[in-house]
């Protein structure tokens, strides 16, 4: 059995179409069977509401008198792109205010416009014969723009890996606040309601398909950036008219210590054409699994601690190495339901008819990492191979002598097998000498918890270790924890004037 898109649209026009949300669909299929569900249901609506950083809007201001070709543009002190000729711009959601930093950004400008608030435009130009004006400042409401078109390069991730943090300090990430020692798990995505999870083969979702975008009737442009359906991480590029959007489904947000983002409500209605659609839309939270990644590892390839399903994540507790860890969602399932519900209402009342894609989206391509023609500096490029170390059973006075003679402020402490066991600084030694007490040996005063780096580590990562721990040197260790070099703040100076700054 097969239903055509025309048959489904005819029922929508008649007001007789049976529309259900993707959350309701699994139970319907379980009750009526696949064929029964195909006969019964005409449209399945999906919805998601979460942080979608890769979002923004094209704005057209109209011409000023005398006219200006705007080259640098700010909206409420948030810089917008000035490379689109005279009076067009693109305001990106994550761009931060020059004055308020992460407390206000492009996402807030967009939300303020949608909320009916006025926004200050400030722009400058060199001035040309055809566009003589050099500067302009004016207050604008959304209605003053000729066009205000949301255009989001990467939205509606099919699913998203969950995050935790194995380090001993709090991390501030785009996945929110991650507590130390795997103290919590953060995740994002609507699972059962997610649009792409209900059409993983991309048969129904493609260019030209009508969608719900922040309360407006929008459209899928095509594949999103970083679209990676091969691994189950498809994305969409979408558009919609900002003037029709509602603050209920569009919210600016700040991830503390990370930056600004935009919460977007997005839903797609799926026509139930055949049994393949029925099977795809019968997906449940238990069927959709993601990796739980350790964000404590500052690499593109973060290690996965385990697999989890959206059902596990939504239960509130997930086990890591036998310990129960609480979960938090960053996206709102309640809002996702509202999106799918509103979309259902649109279709039921004939306010939205469906179309099949005018161009299909590739359902198999993987995403590639960046091609890096120049590798950034690694620790081995700048580390100091002259290591002055000290044994843990040596006298503190020996350490003092070594510090003086070695022209260094840090002494890595090693045991009899030459393995790193601690570190002492000029400060530790001076303190011990100034307050003579029970401590006589290096092992009595050394710091046992040593932050280290490796020769292969990127200098940027090593610098972050120095900064976050408020220290000025890192022992460089090999696989056996032997100290092969030291990296100090002084070595970082080699980056300047050297071959790394061209």
């Amino acid at each position: 059995m097969h239903k055509s898109i025309d048959q489904i649209n005819e029922r929508i026009r008649d007001g007789t179409a049976r529309v259900v949300t993707a959350e309701e669909m699994p139970a319907i299929v379980a009750e009526l069977g696949e064929l029964g569900a195909l006969k019964e249901v005409d449209v399945v609506t999906t919805g998601t509401f979460g942080a979608m950083c890769s979002s923004g809007a094209f704005l057209n201001f109209g011409h000023a008198e005398p006219p200006i070709r705007m080259e640098r543009i700010w909206l409420n002190n948030v810089e917008a792109y000035g490379g689109l000729a005279a009076v067009d711009t693109y305001i990106g959601a994550t761009q931060q205010s020059d004055t308020l930093e992460e407390q206000y950004g492009g996402a807030h400008v967009i939300e303020d416009l949608v909320a009916g608030k006025s926004v200050e435009l400030r722009a400058s130009s060199r001035g040309t014969d055809c566009y003589p004006r050099r500067t302009i400042t004016t207050d604008l409401l959304l209605e003053h723009f000729n066009q205000a078109i949301m255009c989001n390069p990467r939205n509606a991730y099919q699913r998203y890996n969950a995050a935790t943090n194995s380090t001993d300090r709090v991390l501030h990430t785009y996945m929110g606040v991650l507590l130390p020692n795997c103290g919590n798990i953060s995740y994002s995505g609507a699972g059962v309601l997610n649009p792409l999870s209900n059409d993983p083969k991309l048969r129904l979702i493609g260019s030209g398909v009508p969608i719900f975008l922040c309360g407006a009737q929008g459209m899928v442009i095509g594949e999103g950036t970083q679209h990676s359906p091969a691994g189950g991480f498809g994305t969409l590029m979408v558009t919609g008219d900002l003037k029709e959007m509602s603050q209920d489904y569009l919210r600016a947000a700040t991830m503390t210590g990370y930056g600004v983002t935009l919460y977007v409500g997005l839903g797609i209605p799926l026509p139930v054409l055949d049994l393949d659609v029925v099977r795809a839309t019968a997906v449940r939270d238990t069927d959709i699994s993601v990796d739980l990644l350790d964000y404590g590892v500052p690499s593109r390839n973060r290690p996965a601690l385990r697999k989890v399903t959206y059902a596990d994540l939504r239960s509130g507790v997930v086990e890591i190495n036998g310990e129960e860890v609480r979960t938090s969602s960053l996206s709102s399932f309640r809002k996702a339901r509202q999106v799918a519900g509103e979309l259902k209402h649109w279709v039921e009342t004939g306010n939205m008819q469906l179309t099949l894609p005018t161009r299909l989206i590739d359902s198999k391509k993987p995403v590639k990492p960046m091609h890096q023609s120049v590798k950034g500096p690694r620790v081995l490029d700048i580390m100091d191979r002259q290591v002055v170390s000290i044994g843990q059973d040596e006298e503190i006075t020996t350490a003092a002598k070594k510090l003086l003679k070695g022209d260094t402020n840090h002494l890595p402490v090693i045991n009899k097998d030459n393995i790193l066991v601690g570190i002492v600084t000029t400060f530790d030694v001076s303190k011990a000498v100034a307050n003579p007490g029970k401590a006589h040996l290096v092992r009595d005063i050394m710091k046992k918890k040593v932050i280290t780096t490796t020769p292969d580590e990127a200098v940027d990562i090593a610098v972050q270790k120095l900064e976050k721990n408020n220290i000025s040197a890192l022992p460089v260790v090999d696989g056996g924890h032997h100290v092969v070099a030291m990296l100090t703040a002084i070595d970082l100076g080699k980056l300047f004037g050297g071959r790394w700054l061209k």
Partner: protein
């Protein structure tokens, strides 16, 4: 009931909380305390029927006492019910109800404020 006790330590280092426990016999639960060289602030939990006694005794010893009737509060128009606060809170104040709406168990809150920076929508506020 929760009381926020603030005291100056300039006039010597009186063990105010210990003295109140001894004088009144009420077992005070210290939920949170920040004490430095010049001043101190402690959030204490005491049984409802002995609240007045503890409060009066604290005041007589020179402390300022503020009755905390409210824990953390949520601005409903900003909150989107994501639940980012849920796993951050050390006291399990937050949860989602069966409609996935954010629910607060205000009485568990010790006003540590950890959830405030975890809220992407800046929807959480401390009282006072």
């Amino acid at each position: 009931m929760k009381l926020l006790v603030t005291f100056s330590r300039k006039k010597g280092r009186k063990p105010i909380i210990a003295q109140v426990v001894r004088d009144t016999g009420v077992l005070i639960n210290v939920e949170r305390a920040i004490i430095d060289s010049s001043e101190g602030e402690a959030l204490i939990d005491v049984p409802d029927d002995q609240c007045q006694l503890v409060r009066d005794t604290m005041i007589s010893l020179g402390a300022n006492v503020h009755l905390l009737e409210h824990g953390i509060s949520v601005n409903e128009s900003e909150c989107v019910d994501c639940g980012a606060c849920i796993s951050i809170c050390p006291r399990e104040v937050f949860s989602l109800d069966s409609d996935f709406k954010l629910k607060l168990a205000e009485e568990k809150c010790v006003l540590c404020g950890k959830c405030i920076e975890a809220c992407p929508q800046q929807a959480l506020m401390l009282p006072l």
